[in-house]
Symmetry: C2
Subunit: 247 residues, 2 copies
């Protein structure tokens, strides 16, 4: 499994992912699941990937080919008059193609080649946007009613997002919210594991903002986790109890 989270606030986009990859519980590894591409000061996108690691790595390498400087001519053609919508369509199409290729050639495997992506970014002249891309290559965009996307193990970490999200949060507050969502998931699902990678995109910068990794010994992560348990217990105690006799 995996847990990846992309959030859109008024100030920009935030991405966080765990780094655990597993093929059975006795074969786990740490892999980065967050990938950023930018082209000059015109295009910026970050992709979070869950699902089959071979599929997502293949996809990222394909995109790298296009984005990297070494391939100048190809990039130039690729990005000419490209909207973010066009770009997401291309990524979706590429994803679908890779899954189809893996599924049809060579040995049949029991595992699925599927992958889900969260893609957030901005193209010069447009607003920043956040998308969820399905293995079928189609996608949906976030809205004010659904300002975040989750992929992988999404359920444990959702309640806190629903309750505490606010578009006016600062980047620092949003990181805190994301860590709480991840902490609930880490506590419940072994196949989501530390370290956690995060990345911030500030609107209209077209470059990667602050980013980092929370390792297992991280002091802030530990403070958030224990502080939250403490705060929840206090809030729980402070709320009125049911009067059983009255019912």
């Amino acid at each position: 499994m995996t847990y990846c989270l992309g959030i859109k606030i008024n100030k920009g986009l935030l991405f966080m992912s765990d780094t655990r990859t597993n093929a059975g519980v006795d074969n786990i590894s740490t892999f980065k699941k967050i990938f950023t591409f930018n082209y000059k000061e015109k295009v910026y996108i970050t992709i979070l990937a869950s699902g089959n690691l071979a599929t997502t790595q293949f996809l990222v390498n394909s995109l790298n080919d296009i984005f990297r400087e070494k391939n100048k001519d190809k990039s130039k053609v690729f990005f000419q008059n490209l909207s973010l919508f066009d770009l997401v369509k291309k990524v979706g199409k590429e994803l679908k193609k890779i899954i189809a290729q893996n599924a049809e050639i060579g040995q049949k495997a029991d595992t699925s080649f599927h992958a889900n992506l969260i893609l957030g970014g901005q193209v010069k002249g447009e607003e920043p946007k956040l998308f969820l891309i399905y293995p079928q290559g189609n996608f949906i965009e976030s809205s004010t009613d659904a300002p975040f996307f989750q992929i992988g193990e999404t359920k444990y970490g959702k309640p806190i997002l629903v309750r505490a999200y606010d578009p006016f949060l600062s980047f620092e507050e949003t990181i805190k919210l994301m860590l709480l969502s991840f902490d609930s998931t880490l506590k419940a699902n072994l196949s989501v594991g530390l370290p956690l990678d995060f990345q911030i995109y500030e609107n209209n910068t077209f470059i990667q903002g602050p980013s980092g990794r929370f390792e297992s010994g991280d002091q802030y992560l530990a403070d958030v986790s224990s502080g939250w348990s403490h705060a929840l217990k206090n809030a729980f105690k402070a709320m009125p109890n049911l009067t059983l006799e009255k019912r």
Copy 2:
């Protein structure tokens, strides 16, 4: 779907379930999923059921036949020297039998006939116990490390249980905790729906304790839900933010 929760605290056992049954999103009904049986002052059990409604209703009717006074002789034989472990074995065996019968006779159906049960109770001379019974008829018992069982849509409501459970909670506090767990689930999964039924068993009483139903307009439920959102937001705001520059 369904969400049922059984919790063991030092003072006794508590049970809560939603009441939604659905066959597709356009065919929903309200059904009780919490069933209590007691035999004189010797045996008390409550069963929570998730899964195929035909299976769980059949099971409950079978058990009713045994427990009800009208069947005195049968009951007497049934309960002679019966431990709770024996009783759970019988319920598991009955469940397995019903599932197997439905699966083999008549038309083949696409839906599964499976059901999961939470069974809690006490037999005179023993401690109260809480069990989770699988469709295969086998079962596990709760422990101090795992003092509650969930069936159905279990994920959204788990984080709060993990953080706030304490064996020294009062019945009223435990009901509050259960409502918070259900509230998180109701907010996220349409196939879990109000009203919510609850029931309390106090150790060594061998009769059903306080019970009731939270309907959609219930004031306490509304207070808990909005109060919790408020408390969470405050706790969230009060926690220290990450200093991005330092990383």
